[in-house]
């Protein structure tokens, strides 16, 4: 089963496990620490993506100018030119490739600096591999313009973005405004693991982890509404990582 946007057939290929085979991404990764680079590289190849690694800023700028990439992952503290400067230079020279900053600086102020410089997303080390991949795909989707669709269909679920209504098996789901936002986020990231940090940041605009289990409780409530009257589960808990929406068929 594929994720359908505006009801049209997706470009993705179906996999035997029922998940969607995504288009492979071509990623430029700028990181001066070989061990981190090796880990991310391994992660990318395990999901079928191509990763080009550059160890310093000037080489990365040169490479980004000559070749086309789907995504750039950028460390902030590099030996020669820092990540913020690289981002500014890329943007100034008209390169609009989505940039995800993956940095050891993870405070609110650091994130704000990164985003202000022109980065599209910001993640701090240590990172959740699932979350990194999910965010890369979300960024790519956003860049490809797929987010401006009117309806997202995934399995038995339908999310009508403009009407702000949700359906499962054509049956209307009664969601509160915030629950709809949550549902929509899951649908936009259908097939991907959605972590607590992603939900806090993108749904509630909070970039730290509250001590109270607010995310789990709100997900629990949404789950009840999505599953009430249906036999199959709607959300899968990925232990120690996050959640994923299921097809619900």
């Amino acid at each position: 089963m594929a994720i359908l946007h505006t009801g049209e057939a997706s470009q993705g290929l179906e996999r035997p496990d029922g998940g969607m085979a995504r288009n492979a991404l071509r990623i430029l990764y700028v990181e001066d620490d070989p061990r981190t680079a090796a880990a991310v590289s391994e992660l990318a190849s395990s999901s079928g993506d191509t990763l080009v690694w550059e160890q310093n800023g000037s080489a990365a700028l040169l490479r980004a100018g000559m070749e086309a990439f789907d995504i750039i992952i950028l460390d902030r503290m590099l030996g020669d030119i820092d990540g913020l400067t690289i981002t500014r230079r890329l943007r100034e020279s008209g390169i609009g490739t989505p940039i995800l900053m993956l940095s050891a600086l993870g405070r609110s102020a650091d994130r704000a600096e990164g985003l202000d410089a022109g980065a599209d997303d910001y993640m701090a080390k240590p990172y959740e591999p699932d979350e990194l991949m999910a965010r890369l795909r979300a960024l790519h989707r956003r860049n490809a313009g797929q987010e401006h669709q009117a309806v997202i269909i995934y399995g038995a679920f339908e999310c009508h973005l403009k009407a702000r209504t949700a359906f499962r098996d054509n049956k209307h789901l009664s969601l509160s405004p915030k629950e709809f936002e949550l549902f929509r986020y899951f649908m936009e990231n259908a097939g991907e693991t959605v972590t607590r940090d992603m939900l806090l940041r993108d749904v509630w605009n909070i970039d730290f982890d509250p001590q109270t289990n607010v995310v789990d409780v709100n997900i629990g409530r949404l789950r009840r509404k999505l599953e009430e009257g249906f036999k199959s589960p709607a959300l899968e808990t990925i232990w120690g990582s996050g959640y994923r929406i299921l097809e619900g068929v």
Binding site: D33, R35, T36, A39, M77, A104, L105, G106, R107, S108, A109, A112, A124, K125, P126, Y127, P129, K178, W204, N205, I206, D207, F208, D209, P210, Q211, T212, N213, V214, V217, N218, G220, R221, W239, G240
Partner: protein, 445 residues
């Protein structure tokens, strides 16, 4: 710099006001002095004239006096005031002279005063009693005086206006010079990167001295701030990178499908890493907030009502699940100049704190009023009096009088310290109210 709030504009306005008062005062003194001098002159002329006429009357009699009076009227003096006379009997009936009617002056006491002469003029006059049925009035026209005084007034009006204009112009020029020099200092304080442009002038005056002190202070502050940023970034980098490697190894171990109890420990170890990173971040955030106390840079209008409502909605489910009665009352459109994420962290920390310490069945209430004034109150075990001053200290744990929840209440011990640091960075105070039941945290200006 706004003109109405600038000290220099006020100084120039003050100087203009003072000049106007000065010019008016000078004109008034001059007017009075000239008037007195002119009147004294007229009085002397009248008295000399009277003395002569009295002599003529004494030596030559009434006819001669009448004749002389007529002669004097006929002669127009080349300088001084024109003389006018009235020689009359006791009833005031004219005998000689050119004044038609005896005025209200008593000749018995040689009274002086201003009398009408003809239809339009007036003059200074003295009346004297020459004999039992004879009185004399000698007057000098003072029309010239009015002309002189109005000329003086005109001169003061023109000269005074020019003087005030000059004061305003010079004041404005001086003020602009000072304003520019003080403005440079203010600009350097607002944007420390411009401290290098703060050139000390060559005049060696007080402002030059202030400029020098300011440039040094700003450069030093900028150095400290850069050193702090560099150190905290290096600290974060040097700790987060190895922790990231460690986390990656634990994840690899988890992927190899270990036994459930091993997997459990690996997950716990990953949580420990996360907690360590959070502690580091909180410490750096506290230091950053403290170092930016009172600094308005980077603040923007934040709709605090919307923020509090959204956070309360987020927490409502958790509060319900833990058996708390959770209520919130929010005044709409309460705005504050602030950093949205920092403020939401402050409120979140207070909510976490309340839900953590208040036992099941307790109540937690949030109220936001204009000011802004935010109160997060509960009916939990409260804070022991001895702990009240320490509750906002870093790494201080143990809010409850007794562990009423019966659970293991642990945290980083940084939540309230960070909340207070964020409050102070925004020019707000965060304090614990003196309540008999529970704890009540109050955030206000």
């Amino acid at each position: 710099m706004e003109a109405r709030r600038s000290i220099f504009s006020r100084l120039v306005a003050g100087a203009i006001g003072l000049s106007i008062v000065l010019v008016i005062a000078l004109w008034f003194v001059t007017h009075q002095t000239v008037l007195t001098t002119l009147e004294d002159g007229a009085a002397k002329e009248v008295d000399v004239d009277i003395a002569g006429l009295v002599d003529i009357y004494a030596t030559s009699g009434l006819d001669e006096l009448s004749e002389r009076i007529d002669d004097r009227i006929a002669l127009t003096p080349s300088e001084g005031n024109t003389p006018h006379y009235l020689l009359a009997n006791d009833d005031g009936d004219p005998i000689a002279g050119d004044i038609a009617q005896w005025p209200q002056l008593d000749p018995m006491v040689s009274e002086t005063g201003f009398v009408p002469i003809g239809a339009k003029s007036e003059g200074f006059a003295r009346a004297v009693q020459l004999g039992p049925d004879l009185r004399l009035l000698v007057a000098r026209r003072t029309d010239n005086n009015r002309e002189i005084l109005s000329n003086i007034a005109l001169a003061f009006a023109v000269g005074g206006s020019l003087f005030v204009l000059l004061v305003a112009l010079l004041g404005r020029l001086a003020a602009l010079g000072l304003q520019r020099r003080i403005g440079q200092i203010n600009l350097a304080f607002r944007d420390p990167a411009k401290a290098n442009d703060l050139a000390q002038g060559s005049s060696g005056d007080e402002i030059d001295e202030l400029t020098g002190h300011s440039a040094r202070a700003i450069t030093r502050q900028r150095g400290l701030s850069e050193a702090y940023k560099e150190t905290s970034e290096q600290l974060a980098h040097e700790m987060r990178t190895p922790l990231s490697h460690l986390d990656n190894r634990l994840l690899k171990a988890l992927e190899e499908s270990p036994k459930p109890n091993v997997a459990q420990r690996l997950v716990e170890a990953r949580s420990e890493i996360k907690r360590l990173v959070q502690t580091l971040e909180s410490l750096l955030d506290i230091a950053s907030s403290k170092s930016r106390r009172g600094d308005r840079a980077g603040l923007a209008p934040v709709d605090m009502s919307a923020m509090v409502n959204s956070l309360c909605e987020l927490y409502a489910g958790s509060a319900e699940e833990t058996g708390h009665t959770f209520t919130w009352e929010v005044e709409p459109r309460v705005m504050i100049e602030g950093e949205e994420r920092q403020l939401s962290r402050l409120i979140t920390n207070l909510l976490d704190n309340a839900l953590k310490y208040v036992p099941e069945g307790g109540t937690v209430s949030v109220t936001l009023d204009e000011g802004p004034e935010l109160v997060i109150a509960d009916n939990g075990p409260g804070v022991a009096p001895a702990d009240r001053t320490r509750i906002f200290d870093r790494f201080y744990r143990g809010r409850s009088n007794s562990d009423a929840t019966g659970s293991d209440v642990h945290g980083s011990g940084l939540g309230l310290a960070l909340a207070k640091a964020i409050a102070e960075r925004h020019g707000l105070t965060l304090a614990l109210d003196d309540t008999k039941i529970g704890a009540s945290f109050r955030l206000k200006k």
